[in-house]
């Protein structure tokens, strides 16, 4: 999508990124920085989901399993072995990628709703297993209680900061990474192949494409990034439990943000996160106390409206408007 971006779009993207870059200098309230970090984090997660599901056109609702497993690996390596979470994060991501190949080689035989249901099943099996396992061959998982990352204090090595700002910049760095990875995907053989499989699987096979092989490659990359995100999440809250890091809510958030924003595009999922998370946050904080559950109604209404009127995601009409503006500017 960068390749076809108009100068106006390119300008807006750069301005948007610069705004994100200087944001912590403008807003100083820790709550706002915290919310901004969560928005960027969700954008990263939605974009990681999009890396395989958006381009392949398959709806996975089990991606949280990668986030959870990698999060646990990171925390356990730190608490049990004293290994820096930065290294644990990479290990966690790699383990998530390996796990994704195991799950994917079973689930990619299925299409459509059957694929979706099996991804949910795998993620839920893992979550329930984690919730009910206190100790696995000597590894203390502590079940549903979850694990706390011991406080070390301000330290890059321990991935712990007293201030929220470093977390924000780490999340922003991750987001930049997935954007670059997705741009590379679009230009690569893998990107072409995923779109071909999405368009017509039989037709793709006739052109020398082994659908399972390329789906698994993309899934493992996506799982790696999702795992990195899960590790970040655990470090950010210094706490991990199966419900939050591995639950289906997170999978649904990733998928919905990508779909609403525009799946199968570089910036769509990010746009989705920047629209949906603030809505969720604002409705929750302003209405959550007085009208219990009303924030979910509003959130649901926004979702229903976008799916009805912009089935390909908000990015499509947005780009059309921008194209019209830049067209008018030329005349």
């Amino acid at each position: 999508m960068f390749g076809t971006a108009t100068p106006l779009e390119r300008g807006l993207i750069i301005i948007g990124f610069l705004c994100l870059l200087v944001l912590p200098f403008v807003i100083t309230n820790p709550y706002h920085i915290h919310t901004a970090t969560m928005i960027v984090y969700f954008a990263f997660m939605a974009a990681s989901w999009n890396f395989v599901c958006g381009y392949l056109g398959q709806l996975s609702l089990g991606h949280s399993v990668f986030s959870g497993v990698a999060g646990y690996v990171t925390v356990l390596m730190f608490t049990q072995l004293g290994i820096s979470p930065w290294i644990g994060m990479l290990f966690g991501g790699l383990l998530a990628a390996v796990l994704s190949v195991a799950i994917g080689s079973l689930t990619f035989r299925l299409k459509g709703p059957y694929f979706t249901l099996t991804t949910i099943a795998f993620a839920e099996i893992m979550r329930i297993w984690f919730e009910n396992t206190d100790n696995f061959i000597g590894i203390p998982l502590k079940g549903s209680e979850g694990l706390v990352v011991p406080l070390v204090g301000d330290s890059w090595w321990a991935f712990q900061f007293n201030d929220k700002t470093p977390y924000y910049y780490i999340a922003l760095g991750l987001l930049l990474m997935i954007v670059l990875a997705t741009i590379m995907l679009e230009k690569s053989k893998l990107g072409y192949y995923l779109k071909a499989i999405r368009g017509d699987q039989d037709g793709a096979e006739a052109l020398g494409i082994n659908p399972t092989k390329y789906s698994l490659i993309a899934l493992s990359i996506s799982a790696f990034f999702t795992g990195i995100g899960g590790a970040f999440f655990a470090q950010f809250f210094r706490y991990i439990n199966p419900e939050r890091n591995m639950g289906i809510d997170m999978s649904i958030d990733m998928a919905i943000m990508a779909i609403i924003g525009g799946q199968g595009t570089v910036l769509g999922p990010i746009l989705g996160a920047f629209i949906l998370h603030p809505i969720a946050e604002i409705t929750r904080t302003t209405l959550g106390g007085s009208f219990l559950g009303l924030h979910l109604v509003i959130y649901g209404t926004v979702l229903a409206l976008t799916v009805l009127y912009f089935p390909q995601g908000i990015i499509v009409p947005l780009r059309r408007i921008l194209a019209r503006i830049s067209g008018r500017a030329k005349k």
């Binding site: 072409y192 779109k195 368009g199 096979e205 052109l207 020398g208």
Partner: protein, 246 residues
């Protein structure tokens, strides 16, 4: 005599109680356009799918350049040098005409620039320059067919399997397609074509084979085959053949 490019040796396929193809043998010579005809349900598409690797033959063997390709997967058969088109062409959405054709090129090269240059040549060959950057989903039915042909050509096949390429085309489009197929053969690609439109088959084929209820009932040049009593019987029934002979 040199060995044929594609040698089909006694392939069969049974779906439950239905013997779709029965111990059928034929071959495709290098540089030849071979027409495969037969009434509905004769097993043409099944035979096609067995050659292209979408179905595995219950018996016999399939050889390309004297190497067995039986039981291989479609993508490996494509790499071996057999490309195919489908009865129903579905372009890959969110990719332009050029990019659709490039998808086929990745199987022969990893260099994007080479693939793009070759894909552009294919676009020119197909006469689709005017719509090269259009999203493939916006094409007309006939352009979709041409695009599918282009994708197949981008894999640089030795043998091209074409399934009903002029179905639903206007007479003008059909003759354009006939010319295209001839040009493809002149580029050194052998062709096995399944077609219902008789004048297309008569026009194109060097040789025609006829399948009926899973059996090969005729093999010869187009004029011979259409006058073969067995073939007439398969298409028009016993009574018609008797009337003709009296």
């Amino acid at each position: 005599m040199s060995a044929p490019l594609l040698k089909i040796d006694g392939i069969s396929k049974r779906f439950g109680g239905n013997q779709a193809v029965k111990e059928t043998s034929f071959h495709v010579d290098s540089g030849e356009i071979l027409g495969l005809i037969g009434p509905n349900g004769a097993g043409k598409t099944t035979a096609f799918n067995m050659i292209a690797g979408y179905l595995e033959s219950d018996t016999g063997d399939i050889q390309l350049n004297e190497k067995s390709i039986k039981g291989k997967k479609p993508w490996d058969i494509c790499k071996a040098g057999i490309a195919r088109t489908f009865q129903l062409s579905k372009p890959f959405g969110d990719l332009s005409v050029l990019e659709n054709i490039m998808v086929g090129g990745f199987v022969r090269s990893a260099d994007r620039r080479i693939i793009e240059t070759k894909a552009r040549e294919v676009v020119v060959f197909l006469g689709m320059e005017a719509i090269i950057d259009q999203d493939a989903l916006n094409l007309t039915a006939f352009d979709r067919r041409k695009l599918e042909l282009g994708r197949a050509l981008a894999t640089e096949p030795k043998l091209l399997l074409m399934d009903e390429v002029v179905a639903g085309a206007t007479p003008n489009e059909a003759s354009e397609m006939v010319e295209l197929v001839k040009n493809i053969r002149d580029r050194g690609v052998s062709i096995l074509i399944v077609e219902h439109v008789m004048h297309v088959i008569m026009n194109l084929s060097d040789r025609v084979i006829v399948l009926d209820s899973g059996n090969l009932i005729a093999d010869g040049n187009p004029e011979e085959v259409v006058n073969d009593p067995e073939v007439m019987k398969a298409y028009f029934g016993e009574k018609y053949v008797q009337q003709q002979s009296t």
